[in-house]
Amino acid sequence: MSDPLLIWSYLAQGPLVWLTATLVAYLIGDACFRAANRKSWANPVLVAVILLAVLLIGTGTDYATYFEGAQFVHFMLGPATVALGLPLYDNLPRVRKAALPMIAGLLAGSVTAIVSALLIARAFGITGSVLASLAPKSTTAPVAIGISERIGGQPTLTAALVLLTGIFGAIIVTPMLNAMRIRDWRARGFAIGVAAHGIGTARAFQINQTAGAFSGIGMGLNAVLTAIIAPIVLSLFG
């Protein structure tokens, strides 16, 4: 058993190899992000997903096999979402003061995300379950999957679209809001949380604690609002 190849073939049968691969891919992604001087285009999630996708296709492994190993990491999404409560608690006085701006930002961001996505997709001739899968794309993954199931979408497609939205939002947000001259950390964080859920929130925490806290709130509130309005908006497109 001292032969490294034998050890590898043993490991490859167990779920641990994909858990390890996920962690290593993330470490590489994180290293790229640091090496690129924390520029937003070197998003660690994007780098890790590309590396793993290439690895899976290269080794002919299907997604179900991979997920069996990586589900331990996926499971941590829940506790991490709960942990967002602490920065929210730390910023509570600020949150109370900003209640009205937050309601305005939430309504504007959430409705814009759903309606514009459906309008554009329909203009490209996309209909049916793909359209339904697209509607909750700005909400955090576990919630979006639930909404998608309820309105006739494909849950796994929704998960992928949620990720694309998050990564794109995290990449675009800093240059975009700088160009718009939005300097309020609360507005910057809140907007990215509403539009690009947890990945946007992760990005916000990399830059500023206040932005991160408001982003977490935006994400939480949008999860609730989208659950209510996505079925209504979709029925208008039906």
Binding site: T22, Y26, G29, A48, L56, Y63, F67, A70, M76, L77, G78, P79, A80, T81, V82, A83, G85, L86, Y89, P101, A104, G105, G109, V111, T112, S116, A117, I120, F124, I126, L134, T140, T156, L157, A159, A160, L161, L163, L164, T165, F168, T174, L177, N178, M180, I182, R183, D184, A187, R188, A191, V194, A196, G198, A202, T210, G218, V224, A227, I228
Partner: protein, 109 residues
């Protein structure tokens, strides 16, 4: 628990709100769990990786409808960020709830 109460809220969001409520009633708890939560949050990105790899299961669809989907995702994300940030700052200005110490220094991140 969220399922039992038939709430429209997902479980993790309920958990987040419960954590805030608990910290308000027991402020000392917040300091005790802070090392754990900041550790979790500093690697928040990592937990999205497995779901992200799921994109390979939809390769066919992305090849046929990829352009429309990409346009919908990108443009609507840009519009949503802009709408959210503008609405927030406008209302903050109107209601006088701006905070000078929450402003970003222009020029560096």
């Amino acid at each position: 628990m969220s399922r039992a109460a038939a709430l429209p809220l997902p479980g993790p969001v309920v958990g987040m709100l419960l954590l805030v409520a608990t910290c308000i009633t027991r402020p000392r708890l917040a300091d005790r769990i802070r090392p754990t939560t900041s550790g979790l949050l500093s690697h928040l990105s990592l937990f999205f990786v497995p779901a992200g790899v799921g994109i390979i299961a939809h390769w066919q669809l992305l090849r046929s409808d990829g352009l429309g989907i990409a346009a919908a995702v990108m443009i609507s994300t840009i519009l949503a960020i802009a709408a959210g940030a503008l609405a927030f700052t406008w209302v903050a200005r109107m209601t006088g709830s701006e905070e000078p110490d929450a402003l970003k220094d222009q020029g560096h991140e």
